[in-house]
């Protein structure tokens, strides 16, 4: 038994690195969030004032709301688009692997590259999307995609959805692969159409994949920072100012380390709370159905 307990020595290198560069920083973040630290000089203790400010100003409440709304849009669209492609490709083994890899390509590229390319696609003057609309005779649909406050958030969301459709599709295809072929065979003999087989046989059996996909995309999307940072810098008029953008802006734009830390703590609590609730709800649903 002593030999077994000493096995825990194996965790020391990992815990050392994580402790120094992950746990310790999180504790420091919390400590700094109770001060007015400016990056240099003395940090004065201000108690919970940073948090009070966050929860009493509309501006920050709006940012939190925007972050959650953005996540809802992206996650639901990713689930539907991933399911759509997976359900199609599952039925087409000839082109399945090729298409899966093709769809996944954007997901393994960098946000910086994708952000810049889409910034150009969205640009109002010679941007790819407006020019394409004009060429198709749909000139009336031209928009200032990133410059119009009422659509900028959706333009950013669209880019993220485009990027990660291949990711959810890959997860769902793995789920489809786990469904025994006999079930579909039985459905086919009963005369169920392709849609009926999807709706009543496959979809319920995809429960676990849906749980995993929704959880991974939710956590990933709540953390979104790079795309709005590159595409809009939070503008126009704060329309895409997600919590993450404000954290970085307070940090390296205004050197308000203390306040940025308080925003970070709020962000972390939101992410953990959402992950916890989602895990609970989705797992329960899986077990009851």
């Amino acid at each position: 038994m002593r030999a077994r307990r000493s096995l825990y020595l194996f965790t020391i290198p990992a815990l050392l690195v994580i402790g120094l560069f992950f746990i310790h920083p999180i504790i420091l973040t919390f400590e700094m969030s109770l001060t007015n630290y400016k990056g240099i000089g003395e940090a004065k203790d201000v108690g919970w004032r940073n948090y009070e400010r966050i929860f009493t100003r509309d501006r920050y409440l709006t940012e939190i709301w925007l972050t959650l709304w953005y996540t809802v849009i992206v996650v639901s669209a990713l689930t539907v688009s991933g399911l759509f492609f997976a359900a199609m490709l599952h039925r087409l083994p000839l082109i399945r692997n090729f298409s899966r890899a093709a769809l996944y390509t954007p997901a393994m590229m960098s946000f910086v590259v994708i952000g810049y390319v889409w910034q150009f696609l969205y640009s109002p003057l010679n941007g790819g999307i407006n020019v394409a609309l004009r060429d198709l005779g749909l000139g009336a649909w031209e928009q200032n995609w990133l410059g119009d406050p009422s659509i900028a958030l959706y333009s950013v969301a669209f880019t993220q959805i485009w990027m990660f459709t291949g990711f959810t599709c890959a997860i769902f295809l793995a789920g489809f692969a786990g469904i025994p072929e006999e079930i579909n065979e039985a459905g086919r003999l009963e005369g169920a159409s392709s849609w009926q087989r999807f709706r009543y046989l496959e979809l319920p059996l995809l429960g676990p994949s849906i749980t995993v996909s929704v959880m991974l995309t939710t956590i990933g999307t709540l953390k979104t920072f790079e795309l709005p940072f590159i595409l809009t810098k939070g503008g126009p008029d704060g329309a895409t100012r997600l919590l993450s953008i404000d954290i970085i802006d307070n940090l390296f734009g205004q050197y308000k380390f203390g306040f940025a830390s308080a925003l970070s703590v709020v962000m972390l609590v939101i992410v953990l709370a959402v992950a916890f609730v989602q895990n609970k709800v989705l797992r329960d649903r899986e077990h009851t159905s």
């Binding site: 087409l92 390509t105 150009f120 485009w162 990711f167 994949s209 940025a260 830390s261």
Partner: protein
């Protein structure tokens, strides 16, 4: 396409088999539609490559058209002014070092976690789960302060350790589920031969981890190569920039000039795209590892 179900009844000779023809046509149509949708999804990337070969006059006159010829001038300009080769070497060095730390420390930590379930291992697993959920800009402020005070800003060692801390939880989860599936009998046999913990790990467990290590390494490589915020804030020395920061600075400084943006985007993604083309199967396995369990 399996056509085994179709009965070929030679003696009927009732003309062409309309049912078969109809099903074939439908199948071709469905394949065509889905392939078209996939192609539409790839259009932005095709556009990126196409634009990178156009001269600025071509872009102005015909923004969507194919380039008249493969104009390499944009690439020459980008290569000479964005410090591409230097930044690729930096990114590769940082990425490989992170992989080494993450693979060794991750596999070691996963071994006891896969073999023992008690309060200690549950706490460690919870710390790891916290690590997976935490956005990296939440820890960037204190890391910046710590690095500044320790003199680790602008050092490869610092950024490698910071990345390793960020990616270790993933590695530990990867390895834990994999090691748990290794039969205990293998270990027990080694213990009967008087192997100690380390020898069991090194000679029995470690060799069996090769396939999952390959997948994990590719995955960590993609994430570290593409990461933006850590190198942006922790490395400022021009000679230490990673590829993505080089792209960011090069494009950002020129105010989204398409003749600079698109070749830089292609150059920045090229090493990963080549890797993806070669290791596609392993990368897809990593992407879906959590879903299959």
């Amino acid at each position: 396409m399996s056509l085994t179900e179709t009965q070929s009844a030679p003696q009927e000779r009732a003309g062409p088999d309309w049912d078969l023809i109809r099903r074939r046509a439908k199948s071709i149509l469905v394949h065509g539609v889905v392939l078209t949708l996939v192609a539409i999804m790839l259009l932005p990337l095709v556009y990126m490559v196409m634009m990178s070969f156009k001269t600025s006059t071509e872009i102005a006159q015909d923004p969507l058209g194919l380039p008249n010829s493969l104009y390499w001038g944009n690439y020459m300009a980008a290569l000479s002014s964005m410090g591409y080769v230097r930044s690729v070497i930096n990114s590769l060095g940082i990425t490989l070092s992170v992989i080494v730390v993450v693979v060794f420390a991750g596999a070691m930590a996963a071994y006891p976690l896969a073999r023992m379930q008690n309060r200690i291992s549950r706490v460690i697993v919870m710390v790891m789960a916290l690590g997976l959920a935490t956005p990296n800009f939440v820890t960037i402020t204190p890391i910046y302060v710590i690095f500044r005070d320790l003199g680790l800003l602008d050092s490869y060692l610092g950024i490698v350790l910071a990345f390793a801390a960020l990616k270790l939880p993933l590695a530990v989860f990867f390895y834990t589920s994999f090691i748990a599936a290794i039969p205990m009998e293998l270990e027990e046999a080694a213990r009967l031969d008087n192997c100690n913990n380390w020898q069991v790990f090194w000679h029995v467990i470690r060799p069996l981890l090769a396939p999952v290590t390959a997948t994990l390494s590719l995955f960590v490589m993609i994430m570290v190569w593409n990461d933006f915020i850590y190198p942006l804030l922790l490395l400022t020395d021009k000679d230490k920039l990673t590829v993505m920061i080089a792209v960011y600075k090069f494009v950002g400084n020129t105010g989204i000039d398409p003749t600079k943006l698109f070749p830089a985007a292609v150059l920045g993604s090229l090493p990963l795209l080549l890797m993806f083309a070669v290791f596609q199967r392993k990368i897809m396995a990593g992407a879906t590892a959590g879903a299959v369990k």
